[in-house]
């Protein structure tokens, strides 16, 4: 009789231990599941945020831990924008006053570029490189890029009004635009990598931006861009100019305005 009670007690005890273990395991599984869901949500948020800087499939592959992503050839319009005379200005004006101005400039320009289907790919000192048609194929990329440049001109004017009120000198920029086939790739190392484009079309856009100073204009486009603009864009042809890396002088057009229909 006693043995039976002992056996029953032992069985009950074992059942209680098992039940407690099951409850604990269930709780742990629930916690893990919630953590997994949170991680999934975070990943989704990150992917959405990074989708503004690199194509969705590239972001997805990086998120899945891909070490290398095959480069692709793409037709893009490349924009280089540089502030004119900013370096000497930074030597004269207190950096504490100048850095917020520079940040404000980049914020305004980035917003305008994004509104016109482009994205800022890189910021280099007081300059930026923006791409149109790199994240999503865009048949209207050249017109978008030129309209973005014109909107940037207007945005800079708005910024200058505020800058002058603070007693700082006005800012001026030069913008160069070129279109062509580039290699789009994720480049860099484990420490620092970026989605960017490489190729002659990129170099020429940078050179054309440099020509704005010599020609005394703010927005210049190459023949490849001009060929895709309609009559609403008012352009002025400039004398062909020698640029590094090109055997023939490069023809460029200054962008005057855009007339809405």
């Amino acid at each position: 009789m006693t043995a039976a009670w002992v056996a029953l007690g032992a069985a009950l005890g074992a059942a209680c231990v098992l039940a407690a273990a099951l409850v604990r395991a269930r709780r742990r599984a629930g916690k893990l599941e919630r953590a997994l869901t949170r991680a999934g949500d975070d990943l989704e948020r990150l992917e959405r945020a990074f989708g503004r800087f690199a194509p969705e499939d590239v972001v997805e592959k990086l998120g899945q831990g891909a070490k290398e992503i095959a480069p692709e050839r793409r037709e893009v319009t490349v924009m280089f924008a540089d502030l004119v005379g900013f370096t000497p200005l930074s030597e004269r004006v207190d950096p504490a006053a100048l850095v917020p101005v520079l940040n404000d400039y980049f914020r305004r320009m980035s917003r305008v570029i994004r509104d016109h289907h482009g994205h800022v790919s890189r910021i280099m000192g007081d300059g930026l490189m923006a791409l149109f048609g790199a994240l999503v194929p865009n048949t209207w990329q050249s017109a978008d890029a030129v309209r973005a440049a014109l909107a940037m001109r207007a945005a800079l004017e708005g910024l200058n009004v505020e800058i002058e009120q603070r007693g700082l000198p006005r800012l001026r920029f030069g913008v160069g635009l070129n279109r062509g086939e580039v290699v789009a790739a994720v480049v860099g190392s484990d420490q620092l990598m970026e989605f960017t484009v490489l190729g002659d079309a990129v170099n020429l856009a940078a050179r054309v931006e440099g020509l704005t100073r010599g020609h005394g204009v703010d927005i210049l486009v190459t023949e490849a861009v001009r060929a895709r603009l309609d009559e609403r864009f008012e352009l002025r042809e400039l004398p062909p100019a020698e640029v590094k890396g090109k055997s023939e002088p490069v023809r460029t057009w200054a962008v005057v305005s855009f007339r809405e229909q």
Partner: protein
């Protein structure tokens, strides 16, 4: 999805007792946000068709996954919340839905399902549009061919619904996003599930004999429920008196150009020719989205239409509000439906060999 900014509704809801009753009868009282679609008869019928049609070949689970993935890709909070609420009404517990969501995010554990979700994502994004080979690969993995055609149709129809919901900024009902079924609904769920059997497959050749625009695209869905959905949508859209036929053709042409869809652009070109637009003018307009050949509405509409192919929710809702101010409520609602339908057709045309 809750962190995605969502603007104010684009237009006022239409108080039409007939439409309100239909919403309640077919989609339930939680779907009253569809009152905002009410001013366009063809669009409201299209929305109803898209929301109530059921697949015969694709299992419900796959169909729901396809819809959830598409709503996620299009950042459509409204459709995502609606899909979740629908699953709950079907008797799935919060936990089961979370598992489905988890499968959507992590592409599940099954390789075959992962490939399927990948296809749904690619088709929804269309950046670029997936090739037919991607769908054929799913068939080679063991999925039924007609089930995969239905999945493509579900993704395309969801892309249309997502655009309509997002551009109209249909009000997000908190009770829909956080909907919790009552005790009675829970108890009846197994019965509901039992009754919720897939409909019998349509006839193998279910293509309508009549001629209508973009019938070539609908023909790609032959033998599936997709035919009745898109045939009805296209016939309704092109019969609508709100916008002229030429404007409708322009809408389809612009979306086709944005998504690099040769089939749809070819059909739109023929429609434009019938409307007296010369090939040379047609090309010029498509390259610039402007030109003296366009009327006042088309001039403001076409630059907006191109935005509908790939967009950010917040920016697109802002731009659609700007469009409404220029063209008015009736035109903007019809244009949203047309652009959404054109996006669906351009995605469906990947089924062509």
């Amino acid at each position: 999805m809750k962190e995605i900014a969502w603007g104010q509704p684009l237009v006022e809801p239409v108080d039409d007792p007939e439409w309100n009753a239909e919403i309640v009868r077919k989609m339930g009282p939680k779907a009253m946000s569809y009152r905002y679609v009410g001013r366009s008869r063809w669009l409201r019928e299209a929305i109803m068709r898209g929301n109530t049609a059921r697949s015969s070949f694709a299992p419900d689970r796959l169909a729901m996954l396809a819809m959830l993935v598409t709503a996620q890709e299009n950042s459509c909070r409204f459709c995502y919340g609606a899909a979740r609420a629908f699953l709950k009404m079907m008797g799935l517990s919060e936990k089961e839905i979370d598992r489905v969501e988890h499968d959507v995010k992590t592409a599940g554990a099954d390789d075959r399902e992962r490939e399927l979700l990948h296809f749904c994502r690619d088709l929804s994004r269309s950046n670029p549009r997936p090739a037919r080979a991607q769908l054929d690969r799913l068939v080679s993995l063991g999925y039924e061919p007609l089930a995969m055609v239905e999945i493509a149709a579900i993704v395309a129809a969801s892309c249309m619904n997502n655009r309509v919901s997002t551009f109209l900024a249909l009000p997000l009902a908190v009770e829909m996003e956080d909907f919790s079924p009552g005790v009675a609904m829970r108890l009846l769920a197994p019965v509901r599930r039992l009754l919720h059997k897939p409909p019998p497959p349509p006839p193998a050749d279910n293509l309508p004999r009549e001629a209508y625009p973009f019938s070539e695209v609908v023909a790609l869905l032959k033998g599936t429920v997709g035919v009745s959905i898109f045939h009805g949508d296209l016939v309704g859209a092109f019969a609508s008196p709100v916008l002229p036929a030429r404007t409708k053709a322009w809408v389809f042409a612009v979306v086709a150009r944005a998504l690099d869809c040769g089939l749809c652009e070819g059909i739109a070109t023929r429609l434009l020719e019938q409307e007296g637009v010369a090939a040379e003018a047609h090309q010029r307009v498509l390259e610039s989205l402007a030109g003296p050949e366009l009327d006042g509405t088309e001039k403001v509409l076409l630059p907006w239409v191109r935005e509908t192919a790939h967009y950010e929710t917040e920016v697109m809702q802002r731009r659609t509000h700007e469009l409404r101010q220029r063209v008015g409520d009736d035109v903007v609602v019809d244009a949203i439906g047309l652009a959404a339908l054109a996006n669906a057709c351009a995605r469906l045309s990947m089924l062509a060999r």
